[in-house]
Symmetry: C2
Subunit: 342 residues, 2 copies
């Protein structure tokens, strides 16, 4: 357990380092108003804190830098209870008031606002496929052999896909197909659609359609969504470039490249408990992101878990500010989507 003075000093060091991005020495925090001790005393404490693993020294005769453990203690115990910065709060409110017509727009816009306000990278995840189910299916004929398949989920998400129909499927045949699918598949979770398609729809289709095998194949294709790809909304990826810790091009490139890949992002976000979560540096078990911290919050609509909001930045991140912003935004999105949902 840390003494009160140690906590004070640790807090000062982390704050200073977050501001300046440079190792902080005993003198500089002694000169700050809030720690009324001489450099010598502070040096002693700093040595102790280093021994305990909260601080690190790039080299002898340099100042101290917070370790992952140091940041961890900072966010867990030292951050002053969510101190909303009034101005930015109202800015966000005003930026989010545009009326928007569908979920994707809300999320993409929120991502933009968030990255602009923080100067970090924002990552928003839409509804998990696990918790979405089919609400409605439809086919709109284009010409003799092509049609657009429309898939509407219970989360209000709409997708379309052009498909090629088997030869000789009549207008009324198509209507029957649509009816059968809706009857059998409405309410079924997206991830179960394929198996259900074969187990329940197959025989039924066979009774009404000649080329039902080919049709099944086409439908299977139509019903398997992009999964992850379309859930992800990114913004401000280039903000990484402005951080002094990422002056190394190669490192930045690997990070930016990973952010372009849906699977990498899903891995980064894997296994998050609900509520606000902070993953600091080496805590997120992903080699490339060891110099980054990820702050996430899940949001819910209508009581059930929905998606996730994330901010990715350097470990030297303005935790306090970001946490309060993300907290706020997640609630706001819940409300906003909840309202529009009905």
């Amino acid at each position: 357990m840390l003494t009160e003075r140690q906590r004070l000093i640790l807090n000062a060091i982390v704050d200073d380092y977050i501001r300046s991005a440079e190792p902080v020495g005993s003198r500089s925090i002694s000169k700050r108003g809030d720690v009324g001790f001489s450099p010598a005393t502070i040096r002693n404490e700093m040595a102790d804190l280093e021994e305990l693993g909260f601080l690190e020294q790039p080299h002898t005769s340099a100042g101290r830098v917070p370790s992952t453990k140091g940041y961890r203690y900072y966010v867990d115990h030292l951050i002053k209870g969510t101190q909303y910065e009034g101005s930015e709060l109202s800015v966000m409110r005003s930026l989010l008031t545009d009326h928007m017509s569908h979920m994707e727009q809300v999320l993409q816009h929120a991502a933009l606002v968030l990255s602009n306000l923080t100067n970090y990278t924002s990552i928003l995840l839409g509804p998990e496929t696990v918790s979405t189910s089919l609400k409605h299916f439809n086919l709109v004929p284009l010409d003799a052999s092509n049609a657009v398949a429309i898939i509407v989920t219970n989360t209000g998400h709409v997708e379309h896909r052009t498909i090629t129909l088997p030869h000789g499927l009549s207008m009324s045949g198509m209507e029957k197909v649509v009816n059968i699918l809706n009857a059998k598949l409405a309410g079924v979770p997206i991830i179960r659609l394929k198996s259900r398609l074969y187990s329940e729809v197959g025989q039924e289709l066979a009774r009404h359609v000649d080329e039902y095998e080919q049709l099944l194949g086409v439908l299977e294709n139509a019903l398997s969504g992009d999964e992850d790809e379309s859930r992800i909304f990114l913004s401000g990826t280039t903000n990484m470039l402005t951080q002094p810790e990422f002056k190394d091009m190669d490192k930045v490139k690997t990070i930016l490249d990973l952010l372009d890949e849906a699977p990498a992002i899903m891995k980064l976000f894997h296994d998050l408990p609900s509520g606000i979560q902070v993953r600091i540096g080496s805590e997120n078990d992903f080699e490339a992101f060891n110099d980054c911290s990820l702050i996430t919050a899940t949001y819910a609509v209508d009581g059930q878990a929905f998606g996730t909001i994330g901010i990715l930045g350097p470990t030297r991140m303005e935790y306090s500010k970001v946490i309060s912003l993300i907290d706020l935004l997640s609630k706001d999105i819940s409300v906003r989507l909840g309202r529009w949902y009905k």
Copy 2:
């Protein structure tokens, strides 16, 4: 006019500089097999070429670097007729053989292949809105007050948008709306849709629907597409980071940020003649891209202009290779889309 020897030397310098990214001296090109003159002679010629504006010297006692004019002469007169690199050619062929179901997929995939093969940034533009027209319109009811509007264009592009319908619009009313819209608007260019909506559809609608004013507003909204946003397919933007000339973070950030903005890209691509086009450095009148070259090719489907393929890289770009690749790919896409089109 340049002498044969000057052309030879200019060619050697540009080639060398493209390879090494460092100022080229007289000795090093004298040692290359293809220019059989002594360094002294070459120096004289280089001085002349500099006076003529084809070369530049970063400072006295450094080698020469091609100027924009130098690159221009190089691509116009010195590049050996499209020398397909056999291996990469076949790689591209094989990468593009996957069967793909719609235009967007083809273009996005082509962008990926192109950026991977070149290590530059690839930018593909889908069909221009000017040349697209409405082929088919449809409404799919979701619930009492919402529906999905489906817009199909003559280029095979499909868009959907969820809209909120006026209260009390019956099923049959909706059918009428769809019929009217299709009758009046099919074949109309996308950019004219709005004006036609008011000039021709208005009265007709008024006769059949009560709340036609509100409906008109909603339809107008539904028919105005994303325009540019959805035409653009980018890939390999982070390849910029690997180029030594872009080691300056600020410069890279401005470029990457611009690439995220549809209007900027449209401005970059403005006013391109058909065929293959090379814009070198300061030639593209866009401050931020003065260190970049843009190579573009338009492609056509069914005889009419369709979209554009572009590669953005440093001025020190492998013009010869990129030009041949882009030439090839543009033709390939034409064929591919043309086939799938029917």
